[in-house]
Protein backbone atom coordinates (compact mmCIF):
# COMPACT_ATOMS: atom_id res chain seq x y z
CA UNK A 1 0.00 0.00 0.00
CA UNK A 2 1.41 3.43 -0.91
CA UNK A 3 2.63 5.50 2.02
CA UNK A 4 3.71 9.02 2.74
CA UNK A 5 7.37 9.05 3.68
CA UNK A 6 9.33 11.67 5.59
CA UNK A 7 13.02 12.33 6.11
CA UNK A 8 14.84 12.63 8.37
CA UNK A 9 13.09 10.81 11.20
CA UNK A 10 14.90 12.98 13.74
CA UNK A 11 16.58 16.34 13.18
CA UNK A 12 18.58 18.12 15.84
CA UNK A 13 19.57 21.71 15.20
CA UNK A 14 20.84 24.79 16.96
CA UNK A 15 18.56 27.75 17.57
CA UNK A 16 18.75 30.18 14.66
CA UNK A 17 19.67 27.56 12.09
CA UNK A 18 17.62 26.77 9.02
CA UNK A 19 16.07 23.32 8.66
CA UNK A 20 14.35 21.64 5.75
CA UNK A 21 11.97 18.77 6.43
CA UNK A 22 11.24 16.54 3.50
CA UNK A 23 8.18 14.59 2.54
CA UNK A 24 7.29 12.35 -0.37
CA UNK A 25 3.50 12.28 -0.68
CA UNK A 26 1.60 9.41 -2.24
CA UNK A 27 2.24 9.66 -5.96
CA UNK A 28 -1.24 10.39 -7.36
CA UNK A 29 -2.21 12.77 -4.55
CA UNK A 30 -2.71 16.43 -5.28
CA UNK A 31 -3.23 18.06 -1.86
CA UNK A 32 -0.39 18.27 0.60
CA UNK A 33 -0.30 19.34 4.24
CA UNK A 34 2.02 19.98 7.13
CA UNK A 35 0.95 19.55 10.74
CA UNK A 36 2.95 19.70 13.92
CA UNK A 37 2.56 18.18 17.37
CA UNK A 38 4.44 19.70 20.26
CA UNK A 39 5.17 17.03 22.88
CA UNK A 40 2.08 16.39 24.96
CA UNK A 41 -0.13 18.67 22.89
CA UNK A 42 -2.60 18.29 20.07
CA UNK A 43 -1.84 17.96 16.38
CA UNK A 44 -1.98 21.44 14.84
CA UNK A 45 -2.52 22.38 11.22
CA UNK A 46 0.24 24.45 9.64
CA UNK A 47 -0.43 24.70 5.93
CA UNK A 48 -2.13 23.12 2.96
CA UNK A 49 -0.75 23.21 -0.58
CA UNK A 50 -2.39 22.58 -3.92
CA UNK A 51 -1.46 23.33 -7.50
CA UNK A 52 1.89 24.76 -6.44
CA UNK A 53 0.52 27.31 -4.06
CA UNK A 54 -0.59 27.58 -0.47
CA UNK A 55 -4.34 26.98 -0.06
CA UNK A 56 -4.58 27.82 3.61
CA UNK A 57 -2.21 28.47 6.48
CA UNK A 58 -2.61 28.83 10.21
CA UNK A 59 -1.37 31.63 12.41
CA UNK A 60 1.55 29.39 13.39
CA UNK A 61 2.78 29.46 9.80
CA UNK A 62 4.51 32.84 9.92
CA UNK A 63 7.26 34.29 7.74
CA UNK A 64 9.79 31.88 9.22
CA UNK A 65 8.04 28.99 7.49
CA UNK A 66 7.84 28.19 3.80
CA UNK A 67 6.79 25.21 1.73
CA UNK A 68 7.87 24.10 -1.67
CA UNK A 69 7.36 21.31 -4.14
CA UNK A 70 10.73 21.47 -5.82
CA UNK A 71 10.11 18.54 -8.14
CA UNK A 72 7.37 16.08 -8.96
CA UNK A 73 7.76 14.01 -5.84
CA UNK A 74 9.05 16.00 -2.87
CA UNK A 75 7.20 18.43 -0.63
CA UNK A 76 9.35 20.38 1.79
CA UNK A 77 8.85 22.52 4.87
CA UNK A 78 11.57 25.05 5.58
CA UNK A 79 12.02 26.86 8.87
CA UNK A 80 14.38 29.77 8.26
CA UNK A 81 15.61 30.53 11.75
CA UNK A 82 14.56 27.91 14.26
CA UNK A 83 13.44 28.78 17.76
CA UNK A 84 13.30 26.56 20.82
CA UNK A 85 9.52 26.48 20.57
CA UNK A 86 9.74 24.96 17.08
CA UNK A 87 10.72 21.68 18.72
CA UNK A 88 7.94 19.31 17.78
CA UNK A 89 6.94 16.35 15.66
CA UNK A 90 6.17 17.52 12.13
CA UNK A 91 3.76 15.43 10.09
CA UNK A 92 3.27 15.61 6.37
CA UNK A 93 0.00 14.40 4.86
CA UNK A 94 -1.47 14.09 1.41
CA UNK A 95 -4.90 13.46 -0.07
CA UNK A 96 -5.98 12.38 -3.50
CA UNK A 97 -8.06 14.10 -6.12
CA UNK A 98 -9.19 17.68 -6.16
CA UNK A 99 -11.60 17.22 -3.28
CA UNK A 100 -9.66 18.21 -0.18
CA UNK A 101 -12.16 16.44 2.02
CA UNK A 102 -10.74 13.15 0.89
CA UNK A 103 -8.93 11.22 3.56
CA UNK A 104 -5.53 12.58 4.48
CA UNK A 105 -2.77 10.03 4.78
CA UNK A 106 -0.09 10.90 7.28
CA UNK A 107 3.60 10.23 7.17
CA UNK A 108 5.58 8.89 10.15
CA UNK A 109 6.74 12.36 11.14
CA UNK A 110 10.04 14.11 11.69
CA UNK A 111 10.99 14.88 15.25
CA UNK A 112 12.67 18.30 15.30
CA UNK A 113 14.72 19.18 18.35
CA UNK A 114 15.99 22.75 18.61
CA UNK A 115 18.77 23.27 21.14
Amino acid sequence: EPEVTQTPSHQVTQMGQEVILRCVPISNHLYFYWYRQILGQKVEFLVSFYNNEISEKSEIFDDQFSVERPDGSNFTLKIRSTKLEDSAMYFCASSEGTDPTNTQYFGPGTRLTVL
Partner: protein
Protein backbone atom coordinates in the same frame (compact mmCIF):
# COMPACT_ATOMS: atom_id res chain seq x y z
CA UNK B 1 -13.56 28.20 12.46
CA UNK B 2 -14.04 24.63 13.56
CA UNK B 3 -12.99 23.24 16.92
CA UNK B 4 -12.92 19.78 18.45
CA UNK B 5 -13.26 18.75 22.06
CA UNK B 6 -12.33 15.36 23.46
CA UNK B 7 -13.61 14.94 26.98
CA UNK B 8 -11.41 12.16 28.25
CA UNK B 9 -7.70 12.86 28.49
CA UNK B 10 -6.71 9.48 29.86
CA UNK B 11 -8.78 6.34 29.99
CA UNK B 12 -7.63 3.18 31.72
CA UNK B 13 -9.49 -0.06 31.05
CA UNK B 14 -9.03 -3.75 31.61
CA UNK B 15 -9.03 -6.11 28.65
CA UNK B 16 -12.50 -7.02 27.40
CA UNK B 17 -14.03 -3.86 28.81
CA UNK B 18 -16.12 -1.71 26.53
CA UNK B 19 -14.81 1.61 25.31
CA UNK B 20 -16.46 4.88 24.47
CA UNK B 21 -14.41 8.00 23.78
CA UNK B 22 -16.24 11.28 23.49
CA UNK B 23 -15.76 13.81 20.71
CA UNK B 24 -17.73 16.98 20.13
CA UNK B 25 -17.13 19.53 17.44
CA UNK B 26 -18.13 23.06 16.78
CA UNK B 27 -18.76 24.33 13.27
CA UNK B 28 -21.69 26.01 11.58
CA UNK B 29 -21.54 24.07 8.34
CA UNK B 30 -21.26 20.49 7.14
CA UNK B 31 -18.26 18.56 8.33
CA UNK B 32 -16.28 15.42 7.68
CA UNK B 33 -15.28 13.57 10.81
CA UNK B 34 -12.34 11.30 11.50
CA UNK B 35 -10.82 9.21 14.24
CA UNK B 36 -7.09 8.60 14.11
CA UNK B 37 -4.99 6.32 16.29
CA UNK B 38 -1.34 6.78 17.15
CA UNK B 39 0.33 3.70 18.62
CA UNK B 40 3.44 4.32 20.72
CA UNK B 41 6.29 5.35 18.46
CA UNK B 42 4.18 5.18 15.32
CA UNK B 43 2.46 7.66 13.06
CA UNK B 44 -1.17 8.63 12.80
CA UNK B 45 -3.40 6.00 11.23
CA UNK B 46 -6.98 6.46 10.16
CA UNK B 47 -9.42 4.35 12.16
CA UNK B 48 -12.61 5.49 10.49
CA UNK B 49 -14.27 8.44 8.83
CA UNK B 50 -17.69 9.89 8.22
CA UNK B 51 -18.63 12.01 5.21
CA UNK B 52 -22.32 11.31 4.67
CA UNK B 53 -24.94 8.57 4.75
CA UNK B 54 -25.32 6.07 7.58
CA UNK B 55 -24.30 7.89 10.77
CA UNK B 56 -22.93 4.67 12.26
CA UNK B 57 -19.58 3.99 10.67
CA UNK B 58 -17.40 0.99 11.15
CA UNK B 59 -13.65 1.16 10.99
CA UNK B 60 -10.68 -1.08 11.34
CA UNK B 61 -9.91 -3.30 14.35
CA UNK B 62 -13.51 -3.49 15.51
CA UNK B 63 -13.96 0.22 16.13
CA UNK B 64 -17.11 2.11 15.25
CA UNK B 65 -18.35 5.65 15.69
CA UNK B 66 -21.74 7.29 15.59
CA UNK B 67 -22.37 10.75 14.21
CA UNK B 68 -25.19 12.48 16.09
CA UNK B 69 -25.76 15.74 14.26
CA UNK B 70 -28.07 17.22 16.88
CA UNK B 71 -25.39 16.76 19.53
CA UNK B 72 -22.43 17.67 17.30
CA UNK B 73 -20.87 14.44 18.49
CA UNK B 74 -18.86 11.63 16.96
CA UNK B 75 -18.07 9.21 19.75
CA UNK B 76 -15.76 6.27 19.22
CA UNK B 77 -16.74 2.86 20.53
CA UNK B 78 -15.40 -0.65 20.79
CA UNK B 79 -17.30 -3.41 22.59
CA UNK B 80 -14.25 -5.26 23.90
CA UNK B 81 -10.79 -3.70 24.06
CA UNK B 82 -7.50 -5.52 23.85
CA UNK B 83 -4.10 -4.73 25.30
CA UNK B 84 -2.95 -3.87 21.77
CA UNK B 85 -5.47 -1.00 21.65
CA UNK B 86 -3.24 0.95 24.02
CA UNK B 87 -2.60 4.16 22.06
CA UNK B 88 -3.48 7.81 21.65
CA UNK B 89 -6.77 8.49 19.89
CA UNK B 90 -7.51 11.72 18.06
CA UNK B 91 -10.81 13.00 16.77
CA UNK B 92 -10.55 15.39 13.82
CA UNK B 93 -12.89 17.43 11.68
CA UNK B 94 -12.66 19.27 8.40
CA UNK B 95 -15.24 21.43 6.77
CA UNK B 96 -16.96 20.32 3.58
CA UNK B 97 -17.59 23.88 2.43
CA UNK B 98 -13.97 25.01 2.31
CA UNK B 99 -11.53 24.12 -0.37
CA UNK B 100 -8.40 23.63 1.66
CA UNK B 101 -9.02 20.43 3.58
CA UNK B 102 -7.52 21.71 6.82
CA UNK B 103 -8.18 19.23 9.60
CA UNK B 104 -8.66 20.38 13.17
CA UNK B 105 -7.71 17.86 15.83
CA UNK B 106 -8.87 17.35 19.37
CA UNK B 107 -6.41 17.16 22.25
CA UNK B 108 -6.33 13.39 22.08
CA UNK B 109 -7.24 10.66 24.53
CA UNK B 110 -4.64 8.29 25.87
CA UNK B 111 -6.07 4.81 26.24
CA UNK B 112 -4.25 2.35 28.46
CA UNK B 113 -5.54 -1.21 28.43
CA UNK B 114 -4.35 -3.39 31.29
CA UNK B 115 -3.85 -7.08 30.49
Amino acid sequence: AQSVSQHNHHVILSEAASLELGCNYSYGGTVNLFWYVQYPGQHLQLLLKYFSGDPLVKGIKGFEAEFIKSKFSFNLRKPSVQWSDTAEYFCAVNAQDTNAGKSTFGDGTTLTVKP
